[in-house]
Symmetry: C2
């Protein structure tokens, strides 16, 4: 992976990440393709209509179905889906933790039950890398020890220490595998933990960034804490992350969250919000959120957002989308998802332009000024 900083504006960064599959300009938002499909969209939508350079897929889901060995036989995620740009895969730890009725972490890893058939599984730092070698993702995330917030100091301390031990085990294993010719085009990111406690965040960041990872993520945020607490934690943490490697804030967030965290030095984001909210009728626009199912749109012949150049806004009215939503037509989900993802991706593109021009502060001000809701 090549990484260049193209421009900075205070803490905000415009960077370029080159994987063996694509060139990614940051700040970047990565649409979430949980089961190797961004819900309701196909590969052509992602490549040609949305022009994404990187999407995320979930290790937990693909390990359980169709199985990472199946994906490997079909040419990895790229061959399987036909999406020939970059994939980032998470470690599966978050889903093992959140989707399973029974999930137990011990020193060796995380035991969990499949949400599909109840079968028992055990994720270790090595196991989740083996799965990701099979998936063939461009960026792999290592197993970390997640804690629900609020957590006791003892649990946070254990999480940070265990995450570091697992990171050491992961990087050692990855180097060994690469020496054997496995995962040579795959990059590996570690995940900083520590909840909203500054000392723990600092400790986790210092310990992990001492190891030879290709990039670093901030995990364990956006789990119910106040926005300001999340922003402060990010602001506190990024200075401890190396300048010459990508910084990824996992599972975040709203458009406001992205704008704020770019300002605090984050390069990469992922979140189900644009696609999930689309399916629930919440549409993101330059002037804020719009509830497409509202009766007031029944006769509205305008596009969702006059300022939007997306496929959906070029072709359909609010009235038609309102009808499709109310009639529960499958067509609705794709059109709304395209719009919301276009909004997120365009916001990132505009943020980058502002950083390049040294106008991020003005960009942020204009972003808030336009919003009515």
């Amino acid at each position: 992976m090549d990484f260049f900083i193209d421009a900075t504006d205070n803490n905000a960064r415009a960077c370029t990440i080159k994987t063996s599959h694509s060139t990614i300009k940051t700040p970047v938002f990565m649409p979430v393709g949980t089961a190797a499909s961004v819900k309701s969209l196909d590969t052509v939508d992602l490549r040609d209509i949305l022009q994404t350079q990187i999407i995320l897929a979930n290790t937990y889901h693909l390990y359980l179905r169709p199985g990472d060995n199946v994906v490997k036989k079909l040419g990895g995620l790229h061959g399987f889906t036909g999406y020939n740009r970059s994939f980032l895969t998470d470690s599966g730890g978050f889903q093992a933790f959140s989707l399973s009725d029974i999930s137990k972490a011990n020193e060796r890893g995380i035991e969990f039950q499949s949400h599909i058939d109840g079968s028992k599984h055990f994720f270790t730092p090595q196991k989740v890398l083996d799965i990701q070698y099979n998936l063939g993702s461009d960026i792999m995330m290592i197993l970390d020890d997640l804690v629900a917030l609020p957590a006791t100091k003892e649990r946070l301390a254990l999480s940070v220490d265990r995450t570091t031990r697992w990171a050491q085990e992961s990087i050692k294993y990855h180097k060994k595998m690469q020496a054997q010719g496995i995962g040579t085009n795959q990059n590996i990111f570690a995940i900083i933990q520590g909840g909203t406690d500054y000392e723990f965040r600092k400790k986790s960041a210092m310990e992990l960034t001492a190891l030879d990872f290709d990039g670093f993520a901030i995990g364990g945020l956006s789990v119910g804490e106040e926005n300001s607490v999340m922003y402060n934690t990010v602001e506190f943490t990024t200075p401890f992350m190396p300048k010459n490697k990508p910084r990824y804030l996992m599972g975040v967030g709203t458009p406001e969250d992205l704008v704020e965290c770019i300002d605090r030095g984050v390069d990469m984001f992922d979140c189900v919000m644009p696609t999930r909210n689309a399916r629930n009728g919440t549409i993101f626009t330059s002037f804020g959120r719009l509830n497409i199912k509202a009766a007031k749109y029944k006769l509205d012949q305008n596009p969702i957002d006059e300022a939007c150049s997306c496929y959906t806004c070029q072709n359909y009215t609010r009235a038609y989308l309102n009808h499709l939503y109310r009639a529960k037509e499958l067509t609705y989900y794709r059109l709304a998802s395209i719009h919301n993802l276009h909004y997120y991706l365009t916001l990132m593109k505009e943020a980058r332009e502002a950083i390049e021009k040294g106008e991020y502060k003005a960009f942020k001000k204009a972003f808030y000024a336009r919003r009515q809701s």
Copy 2:
């Protein structure tokens, strides 16, 4: 509406229908867009990927939601959906009859309860035309008196007589409305009833074709009778239908049904089968039906059908579609629907070419020879 017979081959016909929105080459299959949306597809899919010249929309559904007055305000079906080719709308009678818990036909029309909110409604021959004027469809179907099969001779006789009386009322009303400048670009088709009884079919056909309709449909078939009985009824009925007007077999059917009924002089078809079956995992191919959820496709890197040039077969493997189906991914529905509709539309195109060459018999033989299931 202009209508030309371009070629015939025994009873099979290759015709051209020109509405004010598009030129339709027959035999034609019309995808069903019940609530002004062919399920999972958008207008661009229909226009650019599938290149349909005509689709069907349901009067009953659109009358109830969003309301035909709403559709009218939004520019009729063409303005509402952005699909600027032809629409055929049914009369709503079939849905009032089949979707409503309580449905009563009397001499004036059909009383029914909405399947959405239980509200009571009454469809009369004039009412369903008024709705279709609001929808602005290119081809309107008149209200007919449907009967479930098997039916008594008395009920069939009543159905045929009532259908004729309603047809007289419909054509009179339509001429009056057109004289007032309403529905001047809209065409009106009558529906021949009579179950599988030849005498009733003949009577219905004779009485209706004496009236000045733009085209004629055969209704009340494909409701559970044996295939051979349906084919025989169609074969018996088409000679009583005028040569110089389109012949439409409503709600039919399988690829085999289409091939057989083209041979018996039918020009137009519609059916939910390709889209509904797609959603249920049944895929149509040149070699017969394929159950995409079968375990044997889990590692199959071939497209659905090597012989198929559709968007889905050009971009995706059976293995990926098998996975998307099993994971219940929304993306699956669109990809499978595109393939099945492409299959139906291509079958019609090939049938037309065969008729033009006077080779329909050989085409039919080859069609069956290729099928394994």
